[in-house]
C-alpha cells in the first residue's frame, strides 16, 4: 500500500531532524521572530490540511485564526489563568466552523460558492469587530475596543500557575510544541481511514457518496479540525503580539495564508509550513528597508510562483528529485508522483 504515501507513511528521519533543528534553533536565532514564523506556519498548515487533502478551499480562514485570538483575549481578561482560555480558543473556532461547515456542506455548497461564504463570514467578523469601539461592547471585563482591539490581557502561563508567564524562549517552545503536536495529529488523522476518505472526497465527491461515506459529515469534521488548529495559531499569535485587533480578520490575512499554502505546495503538510516560514521571512525582511515598495515585490513573487511553479515549491522540488531518481529506478519514481494529483481545483 505504498501508494497512500501522501496520507500515510511518515518519514521519521526528516521529522527528527526538523525537531532537532527547531529545538536547537534558539541558540542561534531570535526566538521572537522564530515564534511568529512558527505561528504562521501552523496557520498555513491548518489550511493545508483541509485544502490539500480534502480539496476544501476557504477564502476566509482568517475567521478562525481571528476568532481564536479574540476568544483567548476575552477569556484571559475574564479568567486570568490561561488554561481555560487556551482551550476555549481552540473550541470556539472549531464550534463556529462546525456550524458554518454543516450549513455549507449539508447544503451542497462547494467550490467558489464555498469561497464566497467563508469570505463573507470573515468580512462580517471584521466589520463587526471594527465597529465595537463604543463602551457598550464588552464581554465581562473585556472591552472589544473596535479598531484598536484588546491590549493588555494576561499571556499564557504554566498551567495551574498563573504567576509563571511564558515569554521569550519558553513561548518559542510552546509554539514548537503546538506546531509539532498539530503536525503529528494531522499525520495520524491522514494515516487513518479518515485521511483516505478525505483524499477520496477531493478526488471524487460523488463516488465517495456512492461508496456509502457520509461526505458532508467528513467535510464538516475536517473543516472544524482545521479551524481548531487555526484557532490555536490565532491564540498563540495573540500571546505573541500581546494585542488583538480586527486586522486578524482582514482580507490581507486571509489572502496571505492562501498564498503561503500555495507557494509551499498543496497536498503536503510540510509544504505550507515551509511556505509560510519562507514568505513570512521575506515579508519581515522587506519591512526592514524602505527602498522598494513591499506590495510590488510580493505581487511579482506571487505571479512568478503561479506561472512558474504550478504545484508549489515543495512538490515541484520533489518532482524534480524524482525525475532524477527515476532515470535510475523507473518504478519508484512513478510512485511519488501521486502526491495528491497536483491539479489545483477549488
Amino acid at each position: 500500500m505504498n501508494a497512500w504515501r501522501a496520507t500515510g507513511s511518515m518519514q521519521w528521519g526528516w521529522f527528527l531532524l526538523a525537531l532537532a533543528l527547531l529545538v536547537l534553533l534558539p541558540l542561534g536565532f531570535d526566538t521572537h521572530t522564530m515564534s511568529l514564523l512558527l505561528i504562521w506556519a501552523l496557520f498555513a498548515m491548518s489550511l493545508g490540511l483541509m485544502w490539500g487533502y480534502a480539496g476544501l478551499l476557504s477564502f476566509g480562514h482568517a475567521a478562525w485564526f481571528g476568532l481564536g485570538a479574540y476568544t483567548y483575549a476575552i477569556a484571559a481578561m475574564n479568567i486570568g489563568e490561561s488554561t481555560v482560555p487556551l482551550l476555549l480558543a481552540i473550541l470556539v473556532p472549531a464550534a463556529g466552523a462546525a456550524i458554518v461547515g454543516a450549513m455549507m456542506f449539508y447544503g451542497r455548497i462547494s467550490d467558489v460558492y464555498m469561497g464566497v461564504i467563508t469570505l463573507v463570514v470573515t468580512l462580517i467578523l471584521f466589520n463587526f469587530m471594527s465597529a465595537t469601539a463604543g463602551d457598550a461592547y464588552r464581554i465581562g471585563d473585556a472591552r472589544l475596543g473596535g479598531f484598536n482591539g484588546i491590549p493588555g490581557f494576561p499571556i499564557l502561563n504554566v498551567p495551574g500557575m498563573p504567576e509563571l508567564s511564558l515569554f521569550g524562549a519558553p513561548m518559542y517552545y510552546v509554539c514548537v510544541a503546538a506546531l509539532l503536536g498539530c503536525y503529528l495529529l494531522s499525520r495520524w488523522l491522514l494515516a487513518r481511514s479518515f485521511g483516505r476518505i478525505l483524499v477520496g472526497i477531493r478526488e471524487n465527491e460523488a463516488r465517495c457518496e456512492l461508496m456509502g461515506y457520509n461526505v458532508p459529515a467528513c467535510k464538516t469534521l475536517v473543516f472544524a479540525i482545521s479551524a481548531a488548529m487555526a484557532g490555536l495559531a490565532g491564540c498563540l499569535f495573540a500571546n505573541w503580539a500581546e494585542i488583538v485587533t480586527p486586522s486578524v480578520f482582514s482580507l490581507r490575512q486571509t489572502a496571505e495564508v492562501i498564498i503561503w499554502v500555495l507557494v509551499g505546495g498543496l497536498g503536503t503538510l510540510l509544504g505550507p509550513v515551509l511556505g509560510a516560514m519562507a514568505l513570512g521571512a521575506v515579508k519581515l525582511y522587506l519591512g526592514e528597508q524602505t527602498v522598494i515598495d513591499n506590495s510590488l515585490v510580493l505581487g511579482l513573487l506571487l505571479i512568478f510562483v503561479v506561472l512558474g511553479m504550478r504545484r508549489g515549491a515543495l512538490p515541484t522540488l520533489l518532482g524534480w528529485w524524482d525525475s532524477r531518481r527515476r532515470r535510475r529506478s523507473p518504478e519508484q519514481g512513478a510512485r511519488r508522483r501521486l502526491g495528491p494529483s497536483a491539479e489545483r481545483t477549488a
Partner: protein, 407 residues
C-alpha cells in the same frame, strides 16, 4: 503589574537556555541608535510616508550639526506595512537586537498600544508623535502630539461663536474617534450648545449617502468631523458633490492630517474650519527652515502634514533632552525629560510637561482656502489639560496605563 513577573519568567527562560536572551547594555561609544517603526506601505502609508521622510530629515540635520554628545546618530527604520503584527515584531527587534536608545514611532493608537509595553519592559525610551485621544500615563513614554483638550476646545468655541449652538458630530469608530466625540460633546454642552446626534464610522466605510441625508434631517448649525483615513475622504467628496458645503458649515479635528485638503478642489474645500498644531503657513522661522530643508531633500513639500511635523519635532525634542542630560543614561534622560525642555519648532514652541510627559503646544485655528490651511487665529501654548486631570508621573512614577477620560 504584570511586568515584574514577566521579567522573572524571562529570566528563568534565559537561564534555561543558557544566555540565549540578550542582556541589556549600551555601547558607550559608536553611534547613538534611533529606532523608528512607521507604516511606509499599506493602507496607512498616507500618514506614514511623510513621517518616514521627516524622520530621515531630522536625523540628517542632527548629524550635519555634529551629532549628539559627539556621536553620530544611526537611524534604524522599519516599515510596519500597516500590519499590527509587524509593530510587535519590530519593537522586539529594536529593543532586543538593535538595542536602540530611543524609539520614535507608531501611528494609530492600536499600534502604540502594541509596542508601548515592549519598550516599557525593556526600558527603551519611547516617543509617540501623533495627535491622539489622550490619557497615556507612562514614565517611559513621551507624547508630543495634541490631545482633545488642546485642539477640540478651541474648535468648539470658534465654531459655536461663528455658526450657532446645534452641532452634529461624525467620528471615526475607534478609540480616537469615540473619545474625541465625548470631549466635543463635553465642550459643546459646557457652552450651552446641543449635540443633535453623534455617528461613528469604522475606517472602512466609504459610502455616506444615508448619513448626509440624516444630517439634513437634523438641521444642525454645523457639523464636526473626526473622520480618519482614506475611505473617509469620500465623506468630504460626497458632501461637496451634493452641494452641502454651501448649506451647512463643516469643522474638523482631523481634516488636513492626511492631506485631505489637497484632494478637494478649492470650490469644495474652502471654508472648512480646522484646529490643530500645524499649518504649512505657520509663521515661525523654524517652519521656514524646515520646509526649505524638506523641499531641498525630497522635492515636494505639499505632502508635509501635521503628524510628519510632530515626528520631526519629537526627534528634535528628544535631541534637546539628550543635550540637557549630557548622557544617554536612563536616569539622566528621565531627569532631563522632567526638567521642562523647550524647543522652537516649526509649529511654534514645544514644551514638555514633567507631570504628564505630554507637550504644551501652539494651536492654530485654520480655514481651508485654495487647498491651503490659512491661519485665522492662534492659541499659544495650550497644555494637555485632559491627561493632566488624571496623570501625575512626578507623584506616581510607577504609573503605567492609559486613562480613559470620563466626562
Amino acid at each position: 503589574m504584570t511586568v515584574s513577573r514577566r521579567d522573572f519568567v524571562a529570566a528563568v527562560g534565559a537561564t534555561a537556555v543558557a544566555g540565549v536572551l540578550p542582556t541589556r547594555g549600551f555601547a558607550q561609544s559608536g553611534p547613538i541608535k534611533l529606532g523608528s517603526i512607521l507604516d511606509n506601505s499599506g493602507n496607512l502609508d498616507i500618514y506614514g510616508k511623510p513621517m518616514v521622510l521627516a524622520t530621515q530629515l531630522a536625523v540628517e540635520e542632527l548629524n550635519a550639526a555634529g551629532g549628539l554628545l559627539g556621536r553620530k546618530i544611526q537611524l534604524i527604520q522599519y516599515d510596519s506595512q500597516s500590519d499590527i503584527a509587524f509593530y510587535t515584531k519590530f519593537a522586539q527587534q529594536l529593543a532586543r537586537q538593535d538595542k536602540v536608545h530611543v524609539v520614535h514611532g507608531g501611528i494609530t493608537s492600536a499600534s502604540r498600544e502594541a509596542i508601548r509595553p515592549t519598550f516599557t519592559r525593556s526600558n527603551t525610551l519611547y516617543f509617540y508623535n501623533v495627535l491622539y485621544e489622550g490619557g497615556v500615563c507612562d514614565r517611559n513614554t513621551v507624547c508630543t502630539g495634541t490631545t482633545p483638550a488642546q485642539a477640540n476646545e478651541p474648535l468648539v468655541e470658534v465654531g459655536m461663536k461663528r455658526w450657532g449652538p446645534k452641532v452634529y458630530i461624525i467620528a471615526a469608530d475607534y478609540n480616537y474617534g469615540q473619545i474625541t466625540a465625548k470631549w466635543l460633546a463635553h465642550y459643546v454642552e459646557q457652552r450651552k450648545g446641543t449635540v443633535a446626534k453623534t455617528d461613528f464610522f469604522p475606517l472602512s466605510i466609504a459610502d455616506f449617502g444615508s448619513t448626509i441625508a440624516k444630517i439634513q434631517q437634523e438641521r444642525p448649525d454645523f457639523v464636526i468631523s473626526a473622520l480618519v483615513g482614506g475611505a473617509h475622504m469620500s465623506f468630504y467628496r460626497q458632501w461637496a458633490a451634493s452641494g452641502m458645503n454651501k448649506r451647512i458649515p463643516l469643522a474638523s479635528t482631523t481634516f488636513g492630517v492626511g492631506n485631505e485638503h489637497l484632494a478637494l478642489s478649492p470650490a469644495e474645500g474652502d471654508g472648512i474650519l480646522i484646529v490643530g498644531n500645524y499649518s504649512q503657513e505657520a509663521p515661525t522661522a523654524a517652519n521656514q527652515a524646515f520646509l526649505g530643508a524638506f523641499g531641498k531633500r525630497f522635492g515636494d513639500t505639499k505632502i508635509v502634514h501635521e503628524i510628519a511635523v510632530s515626528q520631526y519635532q519629537g526627534i528634535k525634542l528628544w535631541a534637546e533632552c539628550v543635550k540637557k542630560a549630557g548622557s544617554l543614561n536612563r536616569s539622566a534622560m528621565l531627569k532631563a525629560i522632567e526638567s521642562g525642555p523647550r524647543i522652537e519648532a516649526p509649529s511654534g514652541a514645544v514644551v514638555l510637561e514633567a507631570k504628564t510627559h505630554h507637550c504644551a503646544l501652539d494651536i492654530y485655528v485654520m480655514e481651508v482656502r485654495g487647498q491651503k490651511l490659512t491661519i485665522k487665529d492662534t492659541y499659544k501654548q495650550r497644555p494637555p489639560s485632559d491627561t493632566a486631570q488624571y496623570c501625575d508621573l512626578i507623584k506616581n512614577p510607577k504609573e503605567n496605563r492609559q486613562f480613559e477620560v470620563k466626562i
